[in-house]
Symmetry: C2
């Protein structure tokens, strides 16, 4: 029985990977850069995205797919920031999968989009194993969660390309040890590009947005060059 | 294929439930009260437990099983507070299951224990569906995570018997809206006994410990009465 479950688990992951690869090819053909945002519940994904959209909307056509177990609160919070937004509710399921993103992308409509942002379900474990066809996976770490999270949840930090420290305005009241946190992030994910931000004060947002736009532009150039 | 996965998922849950029921009967026979502590990563489970042990250790023999994906940091933090502590690492798995608790309990040793505390993996989704044979499930909600978490992660709030608001000392810098949070907690989990705490200042800890000890005593009386 145990072996059978393991085999089926592997088969489900393989199926997701095949679908994610197909999605990635489709996004590339359409010239859409795709971002997958992951973190614990309450790390500030939605607030960071709302503020990011304020900066992005003038420079790119952006669509957002928001995943939650229940409610459309996050989609409502992201309305009015210049992007098309679609809420996906997973009915208790703990992460988004490629087939959910494919269905959501069809409903959202991809025509004319430059950037597609996927806000994953708040979970620092399960999203790490599920590719959604994204170009960039970014993990958020709130200063309120403690400096040890990269060591305790290594999978998600190893599988991401950027890490964003959030709520930096709360670092002092939380007694946040910045040096230790950065050392832990680098130890687990030496590949990670790190940003230190506060959606409340605006700290670090311009640098993060500039990086995101540069990555999107780099992908577009590669795609054009590959097609030439 | 989809139907087969669903069936196997149900079969895995049924197997866990059977094992949890057997564990619960064994704990009852031994006169051990079992607490399962669940929350997001970084909500303050370990810090609350360290402070709780300071109060509990003089009044009861306590054992702790700590679940994490990786590292034995939390067990190390809980040493020296008067309880036996055992770290379980799940190697990436997103929650504890009854078979892990059974194996850990054997290694920890149950002889002479009055209370067994299980600190689950930091995850506000997956632990909700897995009974560990506990008498009391308590979900933590840090004020730093926002007031809407009960609405967005209903499963874990519906399946718990108590909710502990943590890090209340940070309520003001976080702009925490206490009334809204309490309303959301009550809306999703009207059965929840609610505590407002700060491990840093000690706020609410005595009330929480008194409740825990009363629940343990109530169980012992029921067990004695049932055995008479």
């Amino acid at each position: 029985m145990e072996r059978r479950i393991l085999d089926i688990g592997q088969s489900v992951l393989a199926k997701n990977q095949g679908l994610a690869d197909a999605l990635r090819a489709d996004f590339a053909e359409r010239g859409i850069f795709v971002l997958n945002v992951v973190s614990s519940p309450g790390s500030g994904k939605t607030e960071l995205l709302a503020k990011s959209l304020n900066h992005l909307a003038a420079k790119a056509n952006v669509g957002v797919i928001v995943g939650d177990l229940a409610t459309d609160r996050d989609a409502a919070r992201l309305e009015g920031h210049g992007a098309k937004v679609l809420q996906v509710t997973t009915d208790g399921y703990c992460h988004l999968e490629a087939n959910m993103v494919r269905a959501a992308a069809e409903r959202l409509g991809l025509e004319g989009l430059d950037i597609l942002i996927i806000e994953n379900v708040g979970n620092l474990v399960c999203p790490s194993t599920h590719d959604l066809g994204e170009d960039l996976r970014v993990v958020l770490l709130s200063v309120t969660e403690g400096e040890d999270k990269p060591l305790k949840y290594p999978g998600i930090f190893k599988s991401s390309q950027a890490a964003i420290l959030t709520k930096m305005d709360l670092a002092e009241p939380c007694g946040f040890d910045r040096e230790t946190a950065l050392r832990n992030v680098r130890e687990v994910g030496p590949q990670l590009r790190v940003f230190e931000t506060s959606a409340r004060t605006g700290q670090g947002l311009e640098e993060w947005i500039a990086f995101l736009l540069a990555e999107a532009e780099r992908k577009a150039k590669v795609a054009i060059s590959a097609g030439a």
